[in-house]
Symmetry: C2
């Protein structure tokens, strides 16, 4: 008997897995967010990233408010079945700070230094 | 007063953060593992990836047994201060299965299909 592809995933105690979003063109890591079963199912169905917001405790249709959508090009699962890797085509910027990606703090001599510019005013991303 | 760079990190309830390892040359994602405060401190100190093994509940000096070391080239922190991104120079293969990286299962028509070859016999990685 074939198991459902969603049952293969080793969901954590909260029913979540981390999902890494990588830019399909540049290979840059955009962000890491979390998914529950429904979020992953919706992601596959709509071919757009849908996460589970742990802070708002609800489904997070990435780009729904900001317009910064992630179109899914490829989905991978790791050897332990507990991490998802998404290859995505990112509309605009991935980070809520208006930066290209969320990993803009670089460790330099025991200090975190911001090394990526703000490309979009965050106020314009969440104006509605 | 300047806070310690380790105090900026939003460790989870278990005192851990996820750390993504990315190949500095190819941009490929190698793996995701977890770090506690000591693991990250040792990583910076030795310029080699040190993780916290959740299954073995101890520090995991990546490559100590297998020889598959990760030399650290860059360390980033995300906007929420709760995900680490490592750029690494990977010796050999990253995955314990002997594959280049851990994300070798691709979702194809609701099935996870293995799409990366085994490059090293896992038995030779952990023979001692």
């Amino acid at each position: 008997m074939q198991i459902n592809w969603l049952d293969k995933i080793a969901w954590n105690e909260q029913g979540l897995v981390p999902a890494i979003a990588q830019d399909v063109e540049t290979g840059k890591i955009l962000m890491l967010a979390w998914m529950n079963r429904e979020a992953l199912q919706l992601t596959v169905q709509h071919k757009r990233a849908v996460y589970w917001s742990r802070s708002r405790t609800k489904l997070w249709f990435k780009g729904e408010e900001s317009g910064q959508i992630q179109h899914i090009k490829d989905i991978r699962l790791d050897c332990d079945n507990d991490v998802i890797l998404l290859s995505v085509e990112q509309t605009g910027v991935a980070c809520h700070t208006g930066r290209h990606n969320c990993f803009f703090q670089q460790l330099q001599d025991e200090q975190w230094v911001t090394v990526e510019p703000v490309l979009k005013d965050p106020a314009t991303l969440y104006s509605n």
